[in-house]
């Protein structure tokens, strides 16, 4: 299991955070996704054997937000 932190751009309310979590947790290989609207960050725990960090980033973009690994 690997844990990564992402900076998210483009969320305008807590509903957006919920959407990101829903879509990420639907991915096969993602264990948990915790997005904080206040911090504009997302913590994802995933199985490296199934997906990559790149896949996670792509999924967030697909949901409709800009994402980059947290600084």
């Amino acid at each position: 299991m690997k844990k990564i932190k992402l900076d998210i751009e483009g969320m305008h309310c807590s509903s957006c955070a919920m959407n990101i979590d829903f879509d990420l947790e639907d991915m096969d290989g993602v264990k948990t996704a915790k997005t904080s609207y206040a911090k504009q960050q997302c913590e994802v725990e995933f199985d490296e054997g199934k997906i990559t960090a790149e896949d996670v980033l792509k999924q967030v973009q697909k949901t409709g937000y800009k994402a980059a690994p947290a600084q």
Partner: protein, 343 residues
């Protein structure tokens, strides 16, 4: 009550933020059912039925919630100070929500309460249910995933301290969000980001206005010297020094120790009465379909209050004014006001 402003808030921001997450859930529950029906080979459904049942239960759930919140507000505001503080806090929260929508500073994001994970998970799994009643149940469950704006409306419902007013506030808000679910969402997605930003701005202004009204109301109800009414009155009296005919509007007011005021949903009529000092006053409040907070009559400076038991109830308020001057009265939320002139 500015139910129209609340409706517009629902129409603009509710449409966007609610649709962002709830629209997705609704789409998912519709898809789950269609899948089930395809398996059974009876795919004759259309998405109208689940959408409508989702929206109807959502409206009912929120109206009931508003009723409960209003009743809760009424229960904890046994004394007037609590209510005034609550109303002030609700107003402040609404302004913070508006600032967040306008993206004034990232700090305001922390005011937006995010629903707990176990609730969002539970709702997500509900959206995957193939049950016939799943869309309806999902609609009702959306009360557990409120966005910032919804919480601001809930705060307003609590501060109304009346179950009926609370129900009306939440009902008007959710009613406003409905058109977007019925297809307007498609238009907003075509019009793009520019339109979305403008929509959020309209909503922010509406919420800001509601917040200010709420704070001003609490100041009026508290009998504070600083409120929009006192400022207006102050300017009027300054103007009246320069204009000769200014007192004409009050010329036909009779001075009586037994004044009658009609209480309607829209306020007090007349809202200017004249009494003599040193003599007992029996002020009769006559309810005429008073379904608003106007039924909760207050004279902050005298510490007097009288609340009509029903929309057509009659109450008498007795007091003896000791000095001449102007005494303000208002409803419990400070929305409807009037003046007793003591001569």
């Amino acid at each position: 009550m500015d139910l129209w402003v609340i409706f517009i808030t629902g129409l603009t921001v509710g449409g966007l933020t609610c649709l962002a997450v709830q629209g997705g859930l609704l789409a998912s529950v519709i898809a789950a059912r269609e899948e089930e029906e395809v398996e059974k080979g009876i795919n004759n459904s259309n998405p109208v039925f689940p959408t409508v049942s989702f929206l109807i239960t959502k409206l009912i759930a929120y109206t009931v919630l508003g009723f409960i919140l209003g009743a809760f507000g009424g229960a904890i505001s046994i004394n007037q100070t609590t209510q005034i503080v609550m109303q002030f806090a609700a107003g402040l929260y609404m302004i913070v929500v508006a600032f967040n929508l306008l993206d004034i500073h990232p700090i305001f994001r922390y005011a937006i309460i995010q629903p707990p994970r176990f609730l969002t998970r539970r709702i997500r799994s509900q959206s995957k249910s193939k049950d016939m009643y799943a869309p309806a149940l999902l609609g009702a469950m959306t009360i557990f995933i409120p966005c910032g704006t919804t919480i601001a409306m809930e705060a307003l419902a609590i501060s109304s301290a009346s179950p009926f007013l609370g129900a009306a506030i939440m009902g008007a808000f959710v009613l406003g969000t409905i058109p977007v679910f019925l297809g307007v969402g498609v238009i907003t997605s075509i019009l793009g980001d520019n339109f979305r930003t403008r929509f959020l701005r309209i909503a922010a202004i509406a919420i800001f206005y509601l917040g200010l009204t709420s704070i001003n109301g609490s100041l009026v109800a508290a009998g504070s010297p600083v409120s929009s009414n006192s400022i207006k009155e102050g300017t009027q009296s300054v103007i009246s020094i320069f204009t000769v005919n200014s007192s004409n509007q009050n010329m036909n007011i009779t001075t009586t120790q037994n004044p009658e005021i009609y209480v309607t949903s829209g306020g007090y009529s007349p809202n200017y009465i004249r009494v003599k000092k040193g003599l007992p006053v029996a002020l009769k409040l006559i309810g005429k379909d008073a379904y608003s907070c106007a039924s909760a009559f207050r004279i902050p400076s005298l510490g007097l209050s009288a609340t009509l038991e029903g929309p057509n109830d009659i109450k008498v308020v007795k007091f003896t004014p000791q000095k001449s001057g102007r005494i303000s009265f208002s409803c419990s939320m400070g929305m409807y006001t009037g003046v007793i002139e003591v001569i």
